[in-house]
């Protein structure tokens, strides 16, 4: 039996060896979904004009709420302010709509309504709510994200999902820019920055906002927080607020709440406490730090109530109520934390704490004992999505959410009685 020539065998082996060097390279392709953020600009010529007062329109995307005497003001995000006669909470009457492009927040002092108009601060006289009069404007009062000489102010980014394939080793990373667009890996979340929040002021000629505010009036000054700083405006000339000073705070600034001569500022990483005894020079006293979250604040006496919620814009997974002892303002101390569903705005009236719990409505807690408040739910307002709430002396609660405006008689906190429901105007 003739043995097969072994050179066949070695030919095969050699061919393998020759071919291998270029054949032993792994190949990897990745498909990653990115959010492209396309910049949106607005030219000053398009908005730097007297505001218009229009007929009432439907609530489409309600934001902050503000109460001034018998007038209820509801922000329509990025569009303007609904003006409602709320002298009878059981039958609120829409009066009109202030067309203010880019508006997300407001405050009222002495019949003067202050509202943001993109990067400007406009003053509108509402002595006659049926005929508000444009009074003046402070240009460039609100910090902006950028300015282009031809295009105008950069006001936001629109999210555009993009799917791309890359060699695995060429992954550009979670954030990069190209052709003026910012790309953020889907994990980066994103979404337009929500600059709107509301705060509560309690002076007589000053209205009342909710706990989600970024505007607040205190000590005859207007305070506005952006994501990093506190801006102080003088109102000596009510028609034209004058920026007096800017205070660097930190990052992730969300809300501002004035209480007596103090300012409580909610941020992603904690609650800042400022001494505002000198209104033009707020001075930080302390910070109560917590896990990263969005956190509206409400203060009553020596206790601060802070809700922490999760969500993409809040960059965390925490949902809870923190009850903080602020007896010593330089050393706030956590009393206790309570798990919540998805708390947003909150308010307190007498011995009841009202917390907006997103699609679960509003939960009412007995606030007699701060150590057990979260374990003592005594009532609920349900059937709607609750974003923020204002409670007023006279036992009135006003709740706003994407489902509309709801007003309740809270004479008995354990059994809130619905007075009216404004779904459209």
């Amino acid at each position: 039996m003739k043995t097969i020539p072994t050179f066949y065998y070695f030919i095969g082996l050699l061919s393998l060896l020759l071919a291998l060097p270029s054949c032993v390279q792994d190949e990897c392709e990745a498909m990653i979904i990115y959010q492209a953020y396309e910049p949106v600009y607005v030219h000053p010529d398009d908005f730097r004009q007297p505001t218009e007062y229009q007929a009432p329109r439907d609530l489409v995307n309600p934001g902050k709420i503000y109460v001034y005497q018998d007038i209820l003001l509801i922000n329509e995000r990025e569009a303007g302010i609904h003006v409602i006669n709320n002298s009878n909470p059981e039958a609120p009457q829409p009066i009109g709509f202030l067309d203010i492009p880019g508006n997300v927040d407001m405050a009222v002092r002495g019949n003067m309504l202050y509202a943001d108009n993109y990067v400007d601060l406009v003053a509108i006289n509402i002595t006659d709510p049926a005929n508000p009069a444009y009074a003046g404007r402070a240009q460039d009062a609100i910090p902006h994200q950028g300015f282009n000489q031809d295009l105008g102010y950069l006001i936001r980014y629109n999210e555009v999902p993009v799917t791309e394939e890359y060699p695995c080793n060429d992954n550009p990373g979670t954030t990069f820019s190209r052709n003026g667009n910012v790309f953020i890996d889907v994990s980066a979340g994103g979404g337009a920055f929500d600059l709107a929040n509301e705060s509560a002021g309690q002076a007589q000629d000053v209205g009342v906002g909710g706990s989600m505010a970024r505007f607040t009036l205190a000590m005859d000054h207007l305070y506005i927080v952006d994501e990093y700083r506190l801006h102080v405006f003088g109102l000596n000339v009510p028609e034209v607020p004058e920026k007096l000073t800017t205070v660097d705070i930190g990052w992730g600034i969300e809300t501002i709440f004035p209480y007596q001569d103090k300012l409580f500022i909610g941020a992603n990483n904690g609650m800042y406490i400022f001494d505002n005894s000198i209104p033009t020079a707020p001075k930080q006293l302390s910070i109560f730090q917590h896990a990263t979250a969005c956190d509206p604040v409400f203060v009553d006496g020596n206790v601060a109530y802070v809700t922490l919620r999760d969500g993409r814009e809040c960059e965390t997974f925490t949902n809870q109520l923190d009850v903080v002892d602020v007896t010593t303002l330089t050393d706030p101390v956590l009393i206790k934390s309570f798990d919540m569903h998805n708390p947003h705005g909150l308010s307190k009236l007498n011995n009841a704490l009202y917390i907006c719990e997103n699609e679960q409505g509003v939960k009412v807690f007995d606030a007699t004992n701060p150590n057990t408040i979260g374990d003592n739910q005594i009532g609920m307002m349900t059937g709607f999505q609750a974003y923020d709430i204002i409670t007023l002396q006279g036992n009135l609660a006003i709740v706003i959410g994407k489902d509309g405006l709801y007003q309740y008689d809270i004479s008995d906190p354990s059994a809130p009685r619905r007075l009216s429901n404004l779904l459209s105007l």
């Binding site: 039996m1 065998y9 030919i11 061919s15 071919a19 291998l20 792994d26 979340g189």
Partner: protein
């Protein structure tokens, strides 16, 4: 891909003499001295290649059950466990059909060639913050040349060098601090030199 096919083609060409040999030695096949039999093999090996710009190594472990039809040809099934590394380690479990050709029979050292085709299965797992939502395997193909050394009654040592190709797809999510997980889909093609040492019984 073309180069891989070229390599496999040369391996297949090396079987042509076996076909001739089968014809020439037809009588030998029918001789009662050879009895078709089931043969078992267990292999351990290294999977060598390059991932990105860096050398990469993996390990393999296989069992092959071969039915020796005649002195020159056997067919069978095998299963194994292979590990690869590209950014992160991955394991696959191939199940394959194999055809093996022997250049001679009843010699102390028997050269052979082998081709196999199958599917490499993958398992889901979590690694740190990375969760494989779906770790799909894929085509597994290989060819090899080697020798069997008879060391005793129905016992032999096997050495082989070959080429391994494994496809896979991974979909995984990573928790990211900005608030939520994200998904990435990766399509992989592993191309490796496969060095194996085994026993046959």
């Amino acid at each position: 891909m073309n180069q891989m096919m070229t390599a496999l083609l040369f391996v297949l060409i090396s079987f042509f003499p076996l076909a001739g040999k089968a014809q020439v030695d037809n009588k030998a096949v029918l001789q009662p001295s050879f009895t078709p039999r089931l043969e078992h093999e267990v292999h351990f090996g290294s999977l060598l290649g390059q991932s990105g710009s860096d050398p990469s190594r993996g390990v393999s472990m296989e069992y092959i059950g071969t039915y020796r039809i005649n002195p020159y040809l056997g067919v069978g099934l095998g299963l194994g466990a292979h590990t690869f590394h590209h950014d992160r380690p991955s394991s696959y479990f191939p199940v394959f059909a194999v055809a093996k050709g022997y250049l001679s029979d009843q010699r102390k050292v028997t050269p052979f060639g082998q081709v196999a085709l199958g599917y490499g299965m993958a398992l889901d797992r979590r690694e740190g913050d990375v969760l494989f939502l779906d770790n799909k395997g894929g085509l597994n193909a290989r060819g090899a040349l080697g020798i069997e050394i008879d060391v005793g009654k129905e016992l032999g040592l096997i050495f082989s060098v070959g080429y391994q190709y494994q496809r896979a797809e991974s979909i995984y999510e990573t928790a990211w601090w900005r608030g939520g997980p994200f998904e990435e889909i990766r399509k992989l093609k592993y191309r490796r030199i496969h060095l194996q040492l085994g026993i046959k019984f």
